[in-house]
Subunit: 282 residues, 2 copies
C-alpha cells in the first residue's frame, strides 16, 4: 500500500464484511432499516467457510478484509460473520485498528444479540452456530458479561449451512436434522434461541415451529440492524451522514459460477455488478 493509511479519506460508507455470502442476509436488513446510507459489502467467498479454521487464520483473513475496507474509505465496518466476530473482532478493535485506522470503528454481531437477551429479560438461552463460534464461547462470555446469572446452552450445527446452500430448506431431511440439533436445547428448557450464523434465518420459520411458543427466536439480522441504527445516532463523530441515492457496492474474492445465484437468494435482489479482489495483497 503506497498511501499512508491515516491519510485515506473516509467516504461516508458503511463496510459489511462476511466470510462469504451469509452476510448478505445482514446487509438486507441494513438496507431495510437504514436505507439512506452507502454500503460496501465484502465477501471472502474464495476462502469460505471460516467456521472450522484456526483462530490465527480467521484473524489473518479478517485483518486483510478490514484493511481492504478501511483503505477503500469505509468509516465503519460491521463484521457480519459470527465466526470472525467471535475469533477476530476484539483483537482487531484493540490492536489493529488503533494503530492503522484510529478514526475507523468496527462492530460485530455478538454484542447486539447479547443485548437483546437482556432487553427481552431472558434467563435461559440457547445458541446454535458453527463449530468455531461455539468453541470460542464468545456468546456465553458476552451474555454473562452483561448478567452473570444467565444460563447459556450451546449446540454446534455444522450441517445447516450446507443444507441451506444446497437449497434444501423445505426438505424433510432438513427438518429431521433441525429437530435432532434442537432437541438438547428444548430439554434444557431454554426460553430464547440465538441463531449465531448468518445463514440460519433462512430456516427461521421451521426453527420457530420446532421451538414452539415458549422459545423466542429473534431474526438476528433485524436485531443487528436496529442496534446499528441506535449506534449511528449515538456516534455523530463517525461522520456517517444520510444520502438521498444510497450506493451499494459489492466485492468478492472469487468469481464462482455458483455463487451469484446464491448471493441473490440471500440479498433477495439482483447483484448487477461486483469487483473481484485479492485479499492476500492487504
Amino acid at each position: 500500500m503506497k498511501i499512508k493509511k491515516s491519510e485515506i479519506k473516509r467516504k461516508n460508507v458503511i463496510g459489511v464484511f462476511d466470510s462469504g455470502l451469509g452476510g448478505l442476509s445482514v446487509l438486507k436488513n441494513f438496507i431495510k432499516f437504514l436505507p439512506n446510507y452507502n454500503y460496501l459489502y465484502l465477501g471472502d467467498n474464495a476462502r469460505v467457510p471460516y467456521g472450522e479454521k484456526s483462530s490465527e487464520t480467521i484473524y489473518e483473513y479478517s485483518r486483510q478484509a478490514i484493511n481492504f475496507l478501511f483503505s477503500s474509505g469505509c468509516n465503519l465496518v460491521i463484521i457480519a460473520c459470527n465466526t470472525a466476530s467471535a475469533q477476530a473482532l476484539r483483537k482487531l478493535q484493540q490492536e489493529y485498528l488503533p494503530k492503522h485506522y484510529p478514526d475507523g470503528r468496527i462492530l460485530g454481531v455478538i454484542r447486539p444479540l447479547a443485548e437483546e437477551v437482556i432487553k427481552r429479560n431472558k434467563k435461559n438461552i440457547g445458541i446454535i452456530g458453527t463449530k468455531s463460534t461455539i468453541n470460542s464461547l464468545s456468546y456465553i462470555k458476552e451474555i454473562q458479561s452483561l448478567n452473570k446469572e444467565i444460563k447459556v446452552e450451546q449446540v454446534s450445527t455444522p450441517l445447516l449451512v450446507p443444507l441451506i446452500e444446497e437449497g434444501w430448506i423445505k426438505k424433510p431431511e432438513t427438518k429431521m436434522i433441525l429437530k435432532k440439533y434442537l432437541r438438547p436445547l428444548k430439554i434444557k428448557k431454554i426460553s430464547m434461541l440465538i441463531l449465531a450464523c448468518t445463514h440460519y434465518p433462512f430456516l427461521l420459520k421451521d426453527i420457530r415451529r420446532i421451538c414452539g411458543k415458549n422459545i423466542e427466536v429473534p431474526d438476528p439480522g433485524e436485531v443487528v440492524a436496529k442496534s446499528l441504527k441506535k449506534y449511528l445516532s449515538n456516534h455523530p463523530e463517525l461522520k456517517l451522514t444520510k444520502v438521498k441515492n444510497s450506493k451499494k457496492d459489492f466485492c468478492f474474492t472469487d468469481n464462482s459460477i455458483l455463487f451469484k445465484n446464491l448471493a441473490e437468494k440471500f440479498l433477495k435482489k439482483e447483484i448487477k455488478d461486483f469487483k473481484l479482489i485479492n485479499l492476500n495483497e492487504f
Copy 2:
C-alpha cells in the same frame, strides 16, 4: 524463492496434494499398496473446500501447492483432490510444469478411474462428486476419450462431505440423503458408480448397499493406488526408488483444533507431527 527451481534436487519423495484432509484416504491406500516409498502430504485445510470455487481460484491454489511440493524435492505429485484434478491438472501439466519443473510429473485421480471403467467393460456409468467436479464434465470427457460409446450420468452431492466430516456416517438422515442422491442414477440403470470425491469412501458400505448387486462401486483410493503402482514400474526415469524405512511427512495450511481428529480418522493412523505452511508465498 531464492534457489533456481530447476536446480532443486529431487529427494525420492512422492507428493500427495489435497484441498484438505480427504486425500489422506488416498494416501492410506498408497501406504497399503506401495509401502516402501517416501511421502509428503500437503493439505490446504486453511482454504478447503475447493468444491464450489471458480476454476481460476482452484488453479491458483493448486499451482501454489504444486510449487511447494516440487520445491520441497518431490519427484512426482499426485493430486488426490478430484476438484483440483478436474479444474487444474491439465493446465499444470501442460503449462506450469514444463516451464518450472521439467523433470517433475503430476498425476490426477480422474484418469485411473476412467481406465477402471474400460477395464471392467462397463457401458453405463454414474458419477457423484462436488458441484465443481460435476460441472467441469471432466469425468465424462476422460471416460469418453477412451470410449465414445460409454454413457455417463452425473449427480452433484454436496451434502455428503459435511455429513462425513460431522461424523454422521451411520445416521438415518445420511442414509435418506444418500438414497435421494442415488435415485436418479439407479433409474438410469447405471452398472458402475464412480465416487468422485476423496471423502465418499467413508460411505462405501451404505452406497454399495443402496446401489445393490447390479452396480459395481470400486473404492477410488484403491484404484488410484494400483494405477500408481503400475505407473511407477513403467517410469524408472522418475528415479523413485524403494526405501526400507519409508518416511511420511505432513504439511497443512491451517492448524485448526478440529482438524487433527478428522485427519486421523481419514488416515486411520495418528499424525504425530506436521509442518504449518503458508501457500501464498509459493
